[in-house]
Symmetry: C2
Subunit: 409 residues, 2 copies
């Protein structure tokens, strides 16, 4: 089987479904193009010799039974939805890679000892409705009806109506989560520039970073920029600049994998000739170690308060997202690393700074991820791209990993 060609054809075909007239891909949960994409995948799964079925909410599975341990399942896949005006790799590359890899293994080695299964998850991005990880959370029986019962999309269409319109519904809450999953491996583009900068083809992901997100409001006094001497000012932007520069300086000192970002800055009144009386800003901080993340952000909070006091500003600090890091399973990580070695790839073990379905699945089933490089680190954008040879390399490492997990005793 020509793995390179099958991969390339599938990427082209699936990318045609939901291609955005303004460029890129827009394939949102429970839209028609979303259903067309899942049906395209269903057809490919069947043609690859897998038994396909949808679960209640629209996650798609394709399964081949193991000859010796059919009750032990090795699972691979990712999500089928995209962001608005996204690229052609985020999510669907992981779905296609899974069934192309399994198709290749079946063609090359015949049936596996353990069952192999593909999952094409309904939703991860949160781009249509204000909810994320709908696919993976249903798979691990963590999704809650009440979280989506009241929500609508930007056109006012209700989540529940749209789900039912496409023939899906809530899962049976009494159903227990599956106990046959022995491993989950997700392949995904890196969405960062580490692999490219280090000239590597494969990232073996051992951790998904935890993140804390804050919104901070500093309040001082809006004053005339000409008539208010420096000593009489309570300049909120000056306070912000101290906070931002000192916290980032400190983060650089602490070093990888700590990252901290002040992405949003909104002064008031935001006018050239008025001393800013107020500024709202965000801090996004991530690390793979829960304690380090906690300690660093607590230090940052203390520094913010100190700066505020020194500048005569009031401060309101709102921590509105606090997600713990999710370590991957050591054995599955080791299997991926072994596969990368056997395929003679340039690889490194690394963490993911972005969120992925694996962070929902890993607490329930032994999981690991494989990254391939993103050109210039771009994602969530029509310019999202990975060299075809790297996409092929990723599928080869995934296939090798699944071989280790499903074909060996």
């Amino acid at each position: 089987m020509d793995l390179e060609k099958v991969l390339a054809d599938n990427l082209v075909n699936l990318s045609a479904i939901g291609s955005d007239p303004t460029g890129g891909m827009t394939r949102l949960l429970y839209t028609d193009s979303w259903l067309d994409a899942q049906k395209y995948v269903e057809k490919q799964l069947t043609e690859a010799g897998l038994t396909a079925h949808f679960d209640a909410v629209g996650n798609l599975f394709g399964r081949v039974e193991g000859t010796k341990y059919p009750e032990e399942t090795i699972l691979s896949g990712s999500h089928i939805d995209t962001v608005v005006n996204g690229g052609t790799l985020d999510g669907q590359y992981g779905v296609i890679a899974a069934y192309v890899a399994i198709q290749y293994l079946l063609a090359t080695y015949g049936k596996p000892l353990r069952s192999m299964e593909v999952i094409s998850m309904a939703e991860e991005e949160g781009s249509r409705f204000p909810t994320v990880f709908w696919g993976s959370k249903n798979f691990v029986c963590e999704a809650k009806r009440e979280d989506v019962e009241g929500i609508s999309d930007f056109e006012g269409k209700k989540f529940v109506d749209e789900m039912r319109r496409q023939g899906f519904d809530f899962r049976d809450d009494t159903e227990a989560k599956r106990d046959d999953i022995k491993a989950f491996v997700e392949i995904h583009i890196e969405q960062g520039n580490v692999l490219e900068n280090q000239d590597l083809q494969i990232g073996v992901v051992n951790n998904i970073a935890g993140q804390r997100r804050y919104t901070i409001v500093l309040k001082g006094e809006a004053n005339h920029a000409g008539t208010t001497p420096m000593g009489y000012r309570k300049d909120a932007v000056y306070g912000f600049s101290k906070i931002c520069s000192e916290i980032i300086d400190r983060a650089v000192e602490v070093g990888d994998p700590l990252v901290v970002t002040f992405g949003k800055v909104e002064p008031k009144p935001n006018t050239v000739n008025v001393v800013p009386g107020e500024v709202l800003f965000t801090m996004d901080c991530r690390h793979t170690d829960k304690e380090v993340l906690k300690n660093f952000t607590e230090e940052a909070e203390a520094l913010m308060k100190e700066v505020a006091e020194h500048h005569g500003l009031s401060i309101d600090i709102d921590l509105w997202m606090d997600e713990a890091p999710v370590p991957m399973n050591e054995e599955i990580v080791a299997a991926v690393e072994q596969a990368a070695k056997e395929q003679e790839m340039n690889y490194r073990v690394m963490h993911s700074g972005a969120g992925h379905d694996s962070q929902i699945i890993a607490p329930h089933y032994p999981s690991a991820m494989i990254f391939v490089p993103s050109i210039k680190g771009i994602s969530h954008n029509p310019a999202e791209e990975t060299k075809h040879e790297d996409l092929v390399a990723g599928v080869k490492v995934l296939a090798q990993t699944l071989y280790e997990l499903a074909y060996k005793e």
Copy 2:
């Protein structure tokens, strides 16, 4: 004559013309309320025994001839227009104070040796049309037709049409500027918090600060806040925070009267989870000494470029306003200071950090300004306020100054 009561009544009456239904005052050039206000002042001037007339563009004058040196004129006044949703003191206090002071002098001392004149200038704020100092610039024959011939207000009404609708027109360009003005004294609210903080009633203004205004664009790379290690970032907001904090630190070191303000900050994409790839910000810098202003801003520009280079950012620095400081006339300043002493006021000599009509007039005629305190430094706002006793104190110092200049040999 009861100076306090006449002042209070005039402030109440004039503030009723152009009072904004949303609070505060909105009295824009060549609107009906603007003309009503000028006509109200015209009536007061006449009743005070002055000869009133409008010039071509709508500046209003009220004159009493000197008995001995009628060809020497001592002038006082300010502007009649307001900002949108402004207060009841900015501008009109200086107009009312001038005719109340002259009325008081005439009642107390009879006719002056030199002529005294009130000017109620048509426009200073630039709040309706994109032009400023239309009143004072016409008075000193600096206004240019071509600057206003193409401009319109926010409703699309043409400047020229609106001027003519109210019965005014361009001045005769061939007319020379007046050579009889021996002194101009403008009284105004401080619009800052220096007098209040120092518990003073009077500011004797010896200089109007020069100002330089910049718009700066820093460009780096917008990256994923989770997947981009600190070492691989080109974070424009981080660069901005260094620039802002270091330049303000330096300004504080240099000390008064230097002020520097980063009033506008607009990052892109301005989202919590994206490293800001770009930021547009402004710098407003003022000082009373042209050389100090030039040197400080040139140092600031060099520092910005250095920071940009260090952070891998490109930088575009646009200096779009460069106004030189305007020193007041030493003799007129001394006359005001002498008057403040004679009236036993707590005063200080100070500069103005804000722009005023005096900066247009001072290069042509010997000028000085008098400030009264602004409560909390607030202006251009319905909350603009000054204690009535301070408003009275200001008129007394102005009257004393005019007495020194117009009644003494």
